[in-house]
């Protein structure tokens, strides 16, 4: 299963880089969204997928029952998702405003301050 997911992650990263390199502002945003998803999926996969009991010590037990799933990566991903939600919301608003003030979504024409 990890092998399959590894290919999925690779594909997602490739797609996001491809999108980031397009000239259109909207495609840039799609690329950024894909990028954060692929990073999250990478964390999820890299810690091995375990089909086991939750990492909670039961009422009458003293130790965890093997095999148990590591909860930390999921907590990390959850935090990362929340952050990327905020960042993407801002990026969308920014792109919209930029489109309004520049009047184009062509990134090659957004360099009036570059000369």
């Amino acid at each position: 299963m990890e092998i399959v997911l590894a290919f999925v992650i690779g594909g997602l990263f490739a797609a996001s880089v491809y999108m980031l390199l397009r000239r259109s502002l909207v495609k840039l945003l799609i690329g950024l969204a894909l990028l954060s998803h692929s990073a999250n999926l990478l964390i999820f996969t890299s810690v091995k997928l375990t089909r086991g009991s939750p990492p909670v010590i039961g009422m009458n037990a003293t130790a965890l029952r093997e095999p148990f799933a590591d909860p930390l990566p999921q907590a990390l991903i959850l935090t990362a998702i929340v952050i990327s939600f905020g960042v993407m919301a801002f990026a969308l608003a920014l792109a919209f405003r930029a489109y309004r003030s520049v009047g184009t979504d062509d990134l090659d024409r957004m360099k009036s301050t570059d000369d």
Partner: protein, 138 residues
Amino acid sequence: MTSLILRTTARYLMPLLLIFSVFLFLRGHNQPGGGFAAGLVAAAPFALYSIAFGAVKARHVLQVRPRYLIVTGLLASVVSGAIGMSVGKPFLTGIWGYLYLPGSGKLEIGTPILFDLGVYLVVIGVSLSIIFALEEAE
């Protein structure tokens, strides 16, 4: 957008989604759910309302400004952290107490719920202020 279907759904979905968000919020205490998910669910009907009727009316329905929700939420989170500090424990330490309700036994209540409430309010406030601002810029 002035579709009749959208306007009707927006109106009828609002109470349902708001109740669902409270359910999610309380469920988050021990099970999947919690402040963030519940906050998003609570923001959804207002977002829908602003698409159907415009941001001005949606703001009116919300009654409080999104900014005050953010402020209250952040303050609630800071206070929940400071309670732990005020009894000599590190910042954000969970302090638990029991509330004895007549007829239904004791209820465990602690500072994490206050923190979660803060998250709930901040999420509603932030998402709605972005959505309203974009809606008004159209």
